[in-house]
Symmetry: C2
C-alpha cells in the first residue's frame, strides 16, 4: 500500500461528495426522505429512545408506509435507528460506553488518514488543507462554535480525501456523521475550539513534511481528546 493513486483529482464538493460505488450505506434511494429523518435524529428533534411510528411518519412526510419503512431500514443499517422485530423502531440509544468506543475507532481511522495523507497527498491537496485550516482562524476564538464546527468538519473531510483511499474516506465520513451531535457538544467545552485550531496547525505541518508517524499520532490525540474528556461531554447533555 505504498503506491500513489493515479487520479487524485476529485471534483466532488464537500457537501455532496462523489462516493465510491461500493460506499457502504450510500443507498441512493428516496434519499431525501432518509436525510430528512436523519436530520431530525441528529438534531435531537427525534430524541434517543423515541418511538418511530411508521404511520405517523408516513403522514408527516406525506408518503405511504413503504418508503418510510425502507428509510428506517437504511437508518438502522447506519446505526441511527434500532429496529425491534414486530415492536417497531426507536431512535438508537447510544450509551456513554458505546460513544467512547466509537470515538476510539474514529481516532484510529483518522490517524490512518493522516498517515496516508502524509505519505501520498499532493502539494495541491496540502495547499487546500492549509487553506481550510486558515479559514477556521476567524472563528477560532470560540465566539461562534457553530461556524467553527462547520469549518472544522470541512478541514477533516479534506484530510480524509488526502488519504487517497476512497473506502477509508467513506467509512470515516460515516462515523463523522454519526458522531456529529456529540462532536458539536464537545466544541462547547471551554477552550476546546482554540486548542482544536492549534492542533490543526501541527497536523497540517506533519502532513506537509511527510511525517507519517507524527501526523497519525497528532490526529489520534486530536480525536481521542473528545472521547477522554468525556465527563464534560456527558455533563453538557
Amino acid at each position: 500500500m505504498t503506491t500513489i493513486k493515479p487520479t487524485p483529482v476529485s471534483t466532488a464538493t464537500l457537501d455532496q461528495p462523489a462516493r465510491a460505488p461500493l460506499a457502504p450505506g450510500s443507498v441512493r434511494l428516496s434519499q431525501p426522505l432518509v436525510e430528512r429523518i436523519e436530520e431530525e435524529i441528529v438534531t435531537r428533534q427525534l430524541a434517543p429512545g423515541a418511538r418511530l411510528d411508521e404511520t405517523e411518519l408516513a403522514q408527516r412526510f406525506a408518503v405511504s408506509r413503504t418508503p418510510i419503512r425502507e428509510a428506517l431500514i437504511q437508518l438502522a443499517s447506519a446505526g441511527l435507528v434500532e429496529l425491534r422485530p414486530r415492536r417497531g423502531a426507536i431512535v438508537a440509544q447510544v450509551t456513554p460506553q458505546q460513544l467512547m468506543e466509537m470515538f476510539d475507532v474514529m481516532a484510529e481511522l483518522e490517524a490512518h488518514c493522516g498517515r496516508l495523507a502524509a505519505r501520498r497527498s499532493t502539494a495541491e491537496e496540502q495547499r487546500e488543507l492549509l487553506a481550510a485550516h486558515e479559514a477556521c482562524a476567524d472563528s477560532s476564538n470560540g465566539l461562534d462554535p457553530d461556524r467553527y464546527f462547520y469549518l472544522n468538519e470541512r478541514f477533516h473531510q479534506i484530510l480524509y480525501r488526502m488519504s487517497h483511499n476512497a473506502f477509508l474516506e467513506d467509512q470515516v465520513r460515516h462515523l463523522q456523521r454519526r458522531l456529529r451531535p456529540y462532536r458539536r457538544l464537545q466544541l462547547r467545552v471551554r477552550q476546546r475550539v482554540s486548542h482544536s485550531f492549534l492542533e490543526h496547525r501541527s497536523i497540517v505541518d506533519a502532513i506537509a513534511t511527510g511525517n507519517e508517524a507524527l501526523a497519525a499520532d497528532l490526529l489520534r490525540s486530536h480525536i481521542q481528546i473528545q472521547g477522554e474528556r468525556f465527563g464534560d461531554l456527558m455533563a453538557s447533555l
Copy 2:
C-alpha cells in the same frame, strides 16, 4: 481510552454473536432472507455485476417483492449490493483498487484490535485465543484450506472480542465478512496457510506479554499481506 471494560463476559457464540445494540447493519428483520441472499453473493452463486431482479428473487424465495426489497436495501447498506435508482440492483462489483483499500482499512482495524487486546484482555481470553490457535495446527499443512479458513476466522473473531470494544468488534467483523471470498482465495496461494499459522503464534505471544505495539504491527502485516500480494490473487481468478 485506557480503562478496562468491566464486563468482558460474553456468552456469544462465534456463529451468532451477541451484537451491540448499535451494531451497524445488524438489522434483525427477516434476517434469514438477507443471509440467504448474502450467502449466494459471498459464494459467487450470484456473481458481481449480476442483476438482482426483485420479481425473480421473490419467486425463488417464495415471498413477495416487499421483503426482497428490504433485504436488498440492507445488503446495499452493507456494500454487497449496488442499488441504482429506477434501474434495479446488481451485485456490487469490487475493483482490485477498492479491494486493496478495504484490506488496508481491515489491517488497521485488526491492528487496533491487537493493540487493545494486548492492553485489556484477560488471562482467560488469552487462553481461549491460544486454544483457537492450536486448533489450527492440524490443518496448517495446507491440505485442507477450507478447514483452515474456518478455524482462522474463528481465531480472528476471538481476537476482535478481546479488544473489549464492541463497536470495533462489530465493524471489523463486518469487513471480515465482506472480504471473505477474497481471503478465502488468498489462502490458496502457495505457503500462505503455513505462514499464516506461524504469524498467529507471534500474535498470541505479543498479546499475552502485553506488547501492544508489537501485537499491532504483527496483525497489520498479517492482514496487509493479503491485500498486497494481490497480483497473485487476481491471477488466480
